[in-house]
Amino acid sequence: MRSLMAAFLCFMTAAEAFVHCKQNSRTLGLRSVAFFRSEGVLWMGEGTEEKAAPLVTGEQLEIMLQEWDTPLVVDAYATWCGPCLLMAPEFEAAASELKGKVRFVKLDTDKEEAMAARLNIMGLPTLLFLDKYAPKEGEENVGARAVLKGRIEGALRKQNILDLVEHHFFEGPAPKMM
């Protein structure tokens, strides 16, 4: 009798755990994620193909802001932002074209609120152009690692993004939109 009761208890516990696990999976909206390496750092991205502009967490972006082999462009977006959706393939195309020369990453502001607040994000999408802080001659080094070279809100075409990168990082002319 005791062993029967123990077996029944084990079964009910397992059943309850299974039901809640399935419901919680649906509640959390879990999706399959893929891990891939880019520039020596392990990234968590959606889908299985490596993107030229990977999605990063606030923590990963924090690490990237310490490393300055190449300048950095951040696309701050949100799930239900229509212009963000419109710009996404343009941003990816620009990232592909400048791979190895400039880093491009995406930040989901719905999920990474602390970093979004720290970057003073307001309108979406916002592109941030960040580079290594280099104090000028005679200027005191205040310990900063990064400098914000420029920021712009609104959906842009690939060429606009490339023009802005050229201007902010490689001394190109100021694009007409500015």
Binding site: A15, V19, T27, L85
Partner: protein, 160 residues
């Protein structure tokens, strides 16, 4: 006997909890902290979002006429925005603009400045969500109406 009865009571309690539906709460944010605004089952939430999506689709079509503006040539853009407005309507009680980052969404929804149609749109026809476009916009299309089915199709695959 007492031990057996206690055991049976525990089993009955576990059974009750195991088969109760899990409610997906509706969350609000205040000062960066998430609060559970009200309990909704997944089915209730789905119904509420569908109802709000229909309402925001109707509002969009009406306001396009009022403001003499047009939809984006790519209809997935307004579709996603309308869905975002509907989601905010359900979670925050107001159609807060989904194309902005807020430190405190609930506060902003109560304040009203960024509730659609937002003040910049009402005063200067500036809609950075690209929901209501003037003729001089690079992305403007020709259409002034979007159906509920188009909104659902255009916003498929997205989720908050």
């Amino acid at each position: 006997m007492k031990v057996f009865l206690s055991f049976v009571a525990l089993l009955v309690l576990s059974l009750t909890q195991a088969f109760m539906p899990v409610s997906k709460p509706s969350f609000g944010r205040v000062g960066g902290t998430v609060y559970m605004a009200k309990e909704m089952t997944p089915e209730e939430e789905e119904i509420a979002v569908e109802k709000a999506t229909k309402a925001m689709t109707a509002f969009t079509n009406k306001y396009l006429q009022i403001s003499d503006t047009k939809l984006c040539a790519d209809k997935s853009v307004p579709a996603v925005v309308i869905k975002g407005l509907a989601e905010h309507k359900v979670t925050l009680g107001a159609p807060l603009c989904p194309c902005r980052f807020y430190d405190d969404k609930e506060k902003e929804a109560k304040d009203g400045y960024w509730n659609c149609p937002c003040v910049p749109m009402r005063e200067r026809q500036e809609c950075h969500c690209m929901l209501f476009l003037t003729d001089d916009n690079d992305f403007v299309g020709e259409e002034t109406n979007i159906t509920f089915d188009e909104v659902i199709e255009g916003s498929q695959g997205m989720s908050m």
